[in-house]
């Protein structure tokens, strides 16, 4: 529980809560990038450099921009005129709160709190590469396949349907 962790956690939480609660969709995405960046900083704090930078590269550099593009293309930018929450928002928030209570209860009861912590480690890039190329080579290949399939699928989905001329 260092000060750094508390600051970063507050930043991340503020970003995520704002992302879920703001009226303007673009503001939501910008707040979301703050949350993602905070998470990346938390990964760095935990010593996972590679994952932290990948997080920034993928989420801030790609996913947020993609979301922004879709918001622009569906013309849903600008403050919403109708209510932003659906009619059953009460049920939804109660469910989410219940999930959090259960998770928090499980975490506090689990005995992690009294566990002796191992010394800090630094995940160098080299062992990650080694692991990806030896132990995890099959998942890596499948991941490549999945990404290709997703790319083709996204292109097909988002492509304009061409009118067939007789």
């Amino acid at each position: 529980m260092t000060v750094t962790f508390l600051i970063l956690a507050a930043l991340t939480l503020a970003g995520t809560v704002a992302a879920m609660a703001m009226r303007n969709l673009i503001h939501c995405v910008l707040a979301l990038t703050l949350g993602f960046a905070g998470l990346a900083a938390l990964y760095l704090l935990l010593g996972a450099q590679f994952v932290g930078f990948t997080q920034v590269l993928v989420y801030v550099g790609a996913v947020a921009i993609l979301a922004v593009f879709v918001i622009m293309m569906t013309q849903s930018a600008g403050p919403a005129m109708q209510p932003i929450f659906s009619s059953f928002w009460m049920t939804g928030s109660v469910v989410a709160a219940a999930v959090f209570v259960v998770l928090a209860w499980a975490i506090c009861r689990s005995g992690f709190a009294s566990q002796v912590l191992p010394p800090p480690v630094e995940a160098a890039v080299h062992p990650i590469g080694d692991a990806l190329m030896h132990g995890y080579v099959l998942p890596l290949e499948i991941m490549g396949l999945l990404l290709t399939a997703a790319m083709i699928g996204a292109v097909v989905l988002a492509m304009h349907e061409k009118r067939r001329t007789p």
């Binding site: 673009i26 503001h27 910008l30 990038t33 450099q49 590679f50 930078f53 990948t54 920034v56 590269l57 801030v60 550099g61 790609a62 947020a64 921009i65 922004v68 593009f69 622009m72 930018a77 630094e122 160098a124 890039v125 080299h126």
Partner: protein, 398 residues
């Protein structure tokens, strides 16, 4: 050469490192690391801001000479104090914010842009032992920070509530994302060869010599192709001519920073140039041996001088290209990225593999060059295909 001479050369080379140590060593132990970091940050900010100032005046003078003009020659000797005058002007100008603009986002965009541009310098080794942080995943960090620029550009374009700025931002983002793929793929060959993502160890690998010749990656077929592809992608990534569509003055006035004035505009300018320096510096680190001297008998010149000499050389090439090439069209830009750059960078990865596994010798050179040149010609042919340009006859404009 005697031993003392070697020591003297080494001392001059390491003068900044040792003076930083000396400055910090008087402080109490808990402040030492943070104050040395702050010193390095101040040095980086000052040096690269100064380089920005010099580059603006060099660019304007160089472009002027290429167009048979004088360029700025009024302020100070030969116009070299022009950036000072520009700075004073931009500081004293009114800071206009459109009434309908998203005030907070409009303010944050230039700040984020400059911040992202400066963050990238943290992993660039500007000299022997002269790097702010030697990150394990330095190259990855560089590209991650670079992706923040896209967000800043979008924020600027969207928050201005202006059609031109939004169009410019969309163009800029589409272009940056398209060219980030070849940029990263072109640098992967070096990472493969060096076996490390750390910029420091990549430079260390290139800082040895066979006879008088250095081991720079650019002196291999895949390295040269990678360097060329990297520089093309870097030109597009930093929105420079001939890929300066996002700010195309003749079509969308100034693109995403149309609604910025005064110092915020200057910040955009600064951010753009800093991005250009950073990608050039990355190209130097990856392909041109970073701070290493080009010949073994020139190693007595301090390493940081070599780094900045290479940087200035690349900047001059950027200026030269800007003075020469006209702007591309949007569809040409995109098809160039996906139909030429992407296949070539992927092929380059393959060639690097071939180079690695073939026995050293002339055959290896020939095979790799053939593997690169033939597809390049075929691809450039296919880019041109179906677009036969006839001589155009004008009815009224003759």
């Amino acid at each position: 050469m005697t031993l003392s001479m070697f020591q003297a050369i080494d001392q001059i080379d390491q003068i900044f490192v040792t003076s930083q140590h000396r400055l910090v060593s008087d402080l109490p132990a808990e402040f030492q690391s943070i104050s040395s970091a702050i010193l390095s940050v101040i040095a980086i900010v000052l040096v690269f801001a100064l380089l920005f100032a010099i580059t603006t005046v060099l660019e304007r003078k160089g472009l002027g000479r290429m167009q048979n003009r004088y360029g700025p020659n009024r302020v100070g000797p030969c116009g070299f104090f022009q950036p000072l005058a520009d700075g004073v002007k931009s500081l004293t100008k009114e800071d206009l914010v459109p009434r309908t603009a998203d005030q907070l986002v409009h303010f944050l965009a230039p700040v984020l842009l400059v911040m992202a541009a400066f963050l990238a310098y943290a992993v660039l080794p500007v000299g022997r032992n002269m790097v702010l942080v030697n990150l394990n995943a330095g190259v990855l960090y560089f590209f991650a920070v670079g992706s923040l620029v896209e967000l800043a550009v979008f924020m600027a374009g969207w928050s201005s509530r202006n059609k031109y700025s939004l169009l410019g931002a969309m163009r800029a983002i589409a272009q940056m994302i398209s060219y980030e793929v070849p940029l990263v793929l072109a640098s992967i060959v070096v990472i493969m060869a060096a076996g490390s993502l750390s910029t420091v160890s990549i430079v260390d690998m290139q800082a040895s010599y066979t006879g008088i010749w250095p081991h720079w990656f650019v002196f291999t077929p895949w390295g040269f192709a990678g360097f060329a592809l990297f520089m093309i992608a870097a030109t597009a990534e930093s929105n420079r001519s001939p890929f300066d569509l996002p700010e195309g003055e003749s079509e969308i006035i100034a693109g995403y920073y149309i609604e910025y004035s005064g110092f915020k505009f200057a910040l955009f300018f600064l951010g753009e140039y800093l991005g250009m320096f950073a990608t050039s510096a990355m190209a130097i680190t990856l392909f041109l041996g970073g701070w290493a001297a080009p010949f073994s008998f020139l190693t007595w010149i301090p390493s940081y001088l070599w780094f900045f000499a290479k940087l200035v050389l690349l900047i001059l090439i950027f200026i030269w290209i800007r003075g020469t090439l006209p702007r591309l069209r949007m569809d040409q830009l995109m098809s160039f990225a996906w139909q030429f750059m992407l296949p070539m960078t992927l092929l380059n990865l393959f060639v690097a593999g071939v180079w690695h596994f073939m026995p050293a010798g002339i055959v290896r050179w020939l095979v790799c060059i053939a593997l690169l040149v033939a597809p390049a010609i075929l691809l450039s042919r296919s880019l041109k295909q179906g677009k036969k340009f006839a001589v155009r006859h004008y009815r009224f404009a003759e």
